[in-house]
C-alpha cells in the first residue's frame, strides 16, 4: 500500500503570528515554523497503517512550502516516514486553498498513491477544505474528520466525527482521509529516527517538474484574495454579573442573549 501524508509547515501558535504588509501573505520570518499539529496525527496514522500492513506499505511525505519547510519534512521522516517529496517553487507563493489543492493534486498524481492522509485543518489558514478539494480533483473517495481508520484489502472504513457522535463511512481505495486529534497519540521521534531521517530520500519538485501551470497557482492564480487585515482587538474588560441571590438567573440570561443556551 502506497500511503502519502500531506504535511504543512505552519507558524508556531505559541508565537506572535503576522501577515506581511506588502502582499498580505503569512510573514514566515516572524515566527518559528513547526509541523501543523493535526498533520502530526496524520503521520502517526499513516505509520500505524503501515505497521499494520507489515512491510508491504510505504509512507511518503508530501509538503508544499518554501525551503524552510525541510525542517517539517525532517520531523515527519524522523517519526518514521520512508521518503518525502518537497513541492517548492517561488511561483507557489500566495496560493489559496483552491490553487493549493490543484498543485498538490498534480504532485500526488505524479507520486501515485492508494491512500492520502492529512490533518483536517491547519492552524494558520484554518480553511479545512483541502481534503475535500483533493478528493474531488483526484476523483477518489473523500473520508474527512476521521477519528478511526481501518484498511482491509482495498476497502477502507472510517469513523467520521459529527456533532451528534460519528458516522461510519466506507469506501474503496484509492481515497483521501483527513484526521482529527482524537484518532491517536503521535509518537515522539527517537534519536535513531532523527539520525535516520537525514539519510532518507527527499525529492524536490518545482512547478514545472510537477506539471503545474504556473499561472494557476501563487498570488496570480488564487481565486480568493485577502482584501485587508487587522490585528485582533485586545480583549475587553468583560461583564461582571453581581448576584443578590439571582446571580444564576442573570448569568443564564446573559448566556441566552449570546445564544450559548
Amino acid at each position: 500500500m502506497n500511503i502519502v501524508v500531506c504535511v504543512k509547515q505552519v507558524p508556531d501558535t505559541a508565537t506572535e503570528r503576522k501577515l506581511r504588509s506588502d502582499d498580505k501573505t503569512l510573514d514566515r520570518d516572524a515566527a518559528d515554523g513547526v509541523i501543523n499539529e493535526l498533520d502530526e496525527y496524520a503521520v502517526e496514522e499513516a505509520l500505524k497503517l503501515k505497521e499494520a500492513h507489515g512491510g508491504e506499505a510505504a509512507v511518503t511525505v508530501l509538503t508544499m512550502g518554501p525551503a524552510k519547510a525541510t525542517e517539517t519534512i525532517r520531523k515527519a521522516l524522523a517519526m518514521g516516514a520512508d521518503k518525502a517529496v518537497h513541492l517548492t517553487d517561488d511561483a507557489l507563493h500566495g496560493s489559496d486553498a483552491l490553487s493549493t489543492s490543484y498543485a498538490m493534486a498534480q504532485a500526488l498524481g505524479r507520486i501515485g498513491f492508494d491512500l492520502v492522509v492529512l490533518g483536517s485543518e491547519s492552524t494558520d489558514a484554518r480553511t479545512g477544505v483541502l481534503a475535500a478539494m483533493l478528493a474531488e480533483r483526484l476523483g477518489v473517495a473523500q473520508l474527512t474528520q476521521a477519528k478511526k481508520v481501518e484498511v482491509s484489502g482495498t476497502s477502507i472504513a472510517v469513523e467520521r466525527v459529527t456533532e451528534y457522535g460519528y458516522d461510519k463511512v466506507e469506501a474503496t481505495l484509492p481515497a483521501v482521509v483527513s484526521v482529527v486529534e482524537k484518532i491517536n497519540e503521535p509518537r515522539y521521534p527517537s534519536f535513531k529516527g532523527i539520525m535516520a531521517a537525514k539519510k532518507k530520500p527527499v525529492e524536490t519538485l518545482s512547478v514545472a517538474d510537477a506539471g503545474i501551470a504556473a499561472d494557476q497557482v501563487g498570488l496570480a492564480g488564487a481565486w480568493s484574495e485577502v482584501a485587508e487585515f487587522a490585528a485582533a482587538p485586545p480583549r475587553g474588560a468583560g461583564t461582571i454579573v453581581k448576584g443578590d441571590g439571582d446571580g444564576g438567573t442573570k448569568t443564564a440570561d446573559f448566556l441566552v442573549t449570546k445564544k450559548f443556551i
Binding site: 515522539y188 527517537s190 534519536f191 532523527i194 539520525m195
Partner: protein, 384 residues
C-alpha cells in the same frame, strides 16, 4: 554555537515532550513524592535512556552530548525526571557499557537502553563521599566462586524503583601492593538475598525521584559479576564521575533556564504599581543576569562535552562546567523565587520546585568545593 540539525531536532523533541507530557503532571508526582513510572515509560519509548549507547546494544547510537541536551531540556521543566535519566544512563548503563564484558553487556544493556529497567551506581556511603578510597567501608571478598559483600551505601538514585534491575557497587576487595585499599566494582542484581533496599529518603528536593540507602549483609553474587578488572574500581568511577559532571552541568543549566522561562512569563502578567512588573528595571536586571548565567554555563558544558567527545582531557572543563552551572541554578532559583514573591514560596508553582531542587546541584556528583579542588589541581596547585 550552533547545534547541528540532528542535535537541534533532538533538543526540540525533548523540549516538546517536557512541555506537553512532563509539565502538566509532574507537580502532583512531586507533591506525592511518587516516582513517575508513566513518564519514564514514555521517555524509554523515545529512546532517551539509550541516547549514548550504540545500536548493537539496543541504544540510539548517539553520544554523551545528545544525552546532555535531553537532560537540559527536561530540567527546564523538572529536575526529578532529569536526574532519573541522568543516573540511569550516566551511572547505571554507561559503566556496564564501558567496563562490562560481552555477557554483562548482553544481559543488561538492551533493557537499560530501552528504559524498561533502571540501573544504579553505589559509591557514596553514610560516612564517606568524595574521600574515597579512604572513607569507603563496604567490603567484598571472594568465597569460592562468589563475591560476598558487606556494607552500606547512601543516597543511591534509582536504586529502589519497581523497575530497578541492577546496582553497580564499589567495594574494597583487598589491599594494593602500595598498601592502599583495592577497590572493585561488582554488579548486584535487585532482589539478591542479603541486599536490602531501605525506604525512600524524605528529601528537600528531587521529590519525584527515587533515592535510597542500600545495605549488604553477606550478599553473595557470582564471581563473574565483577565489572571490568579487579582493582580498577577507583579509576572506573573517576571516569564515570568526570562524565557525570558534564551531565549534572547540563541538568543545572536546564534548571537555570527554566527559571528564566517561568520568570519571563510571569513578569508580563503580574502587575504592580500600574504596570506589569517586567516594566521595572529592578526586575529586568534580575532576568538579564539570570539569562547571562544560564547562557555562559551552557557554553561551559558544551565546551566540556566537545573536549570529551574529541577524546581530549576534559577534567578541568567538566569541573568548571559543574561549578558554574550549579551556581547559576542556585542563583537563578533564588532570584526567580524572589520575582514570584509569595507565589514563589508555593510548591504548586514551578519556581518553588526549582528552588528546592537547586541546592543538591552544588552537592551531588562532587560538591562545589571538590570542583574547586579539581580545578586548582589541574592548574598545578596541590598541598604546598
Amino acid at each position: 554555537m550552533k547545534l547541528s540539525d540532528e542535535y537541534e531536532d533532538l533538543r526540540k523533541t525533548v523540549e516538546a515532550f517536557a512541555r506537553d507530557v512532563v509539565a502538566p503532571v509532574i507537580g502532583d508526582y512531586y507533591e506525592r513524592e511518587e516516582f513517575p513510572y508513566d513518564i519514564v515509560r514514555q521517555m524509554g519509548a523515545m529512546g532517551l535512556f539509550g541516547l549514548p549507547i550504540p545500536e548493537e546494544h539496543g541504544g540510539m547510537g548517539g553520544d554523551y552530548f545528545a544525552l546532555c541536551l535531553a537532560l537540559e531540556e527536561l530540567a527546564r521543566v523538572d529536575s526529578s525526571v532529569s536526574i532519573t535519566l541522568e543516573a540511569a544512563v550516566s551511572l547505571g548503563a554507561m559503566p556496564i557499557y564501558r567496563f562490562g564484558d560481552d555477557d554483562q553487556r548482553a544481559r543488561w544493556l538492551p533493557r537499560l537502553a530501552a528504559g524498561e529497567m533502571l540501573g544504579a551506581f553505589g559509591l557514596t556511603e553514610p560516612g564517606g563521599g568524595s574521600d574515597v578510597p579512604g572513607g569507603m567501608r563496604t567490603k567484598a571478598h571472594l568465597d569460592g566462586d562468589e563475591w560476598v559483600i558487606n556494607g552500606t551505601k547512601a543516597f543511591i538514585t534509582n536504586s529502589g524503583t519497581d523497575i530497578t534491575g541492577v546496582v553497580a557497587v564499589a567495594a574494597i576487595t583487598g589491599t594494593t601492593e602500595a598498601g592502599r585499599p583495592e577497590i572493585s566494582t561488582i554488579l548486584v542484581p535487585s532482589g539478591t538475598p542479603g541486599f536490602t533496599v531501605s525506604k525512600k529518603y524524605s528529601k528537600v528536593g528531587w521529590s519525584a525521584s527515587d533515592t535510597r540507602e542500600l545495605s549488604f549483609a553477606d550478599c553473595r553474587v557470582p564471581a563473574g559479576n565483577l565489572l571490568g578488572e579487579r582493582g580498577r574500581g577507583y579509576a572506573q568511577f573517576l571516569q564515570t564521575l568526570d562524565e557525570g559532571r558534564i551531565a549534572i552541568a547540563a541538568l543545572s543549566v536546564g534548571l537555570a533556564q527554566g527559571c528564566v522561562d517561568e520568570s519571563l512569563r510571569y513578569v508580563r502578567e503580574r502587575r504592580a504599581f500600574g504596570h506589569p512588573i517586567g516594566h521595572y528595571q529592578a526586575i529586568q536586571f534580575k532576568i538579564a543576569d539570570m539569562e547571562a548565567r544560564a547562557h555562559t554555563a551552557r557554553l561551559a558544558y558544551y565546551h566540556a562535552a566537545e573536549k570529551m567527545l574529541a577524546g581530549e582531557p576534559f577534567k578541568k572543563e567538566a569541573a568548571i562546567a559543574k561549578l558554574v552551572s550549579s551556581n547559576a541554578a542556585m542563583d537563578n532559583a533564588r532570584e526567580a523565587t524572589q520575582i514570584f514573591g509569595g507565589y514563589g514560596f508555593m510548591n504548586e508553582f514551578p519556581v518553588g520546585r526549582f528552588y528546592r531542587d537547586a541546592k543538591i546541584l552544588e552537592i551531588g556528583e562532587g560538591t562545589s568545593e571538590v570542583q574547586r579542588m579539581l580545578i586548582a589541581r589541574e592548574l598545578g596547585l596541590s598541598a604546598l
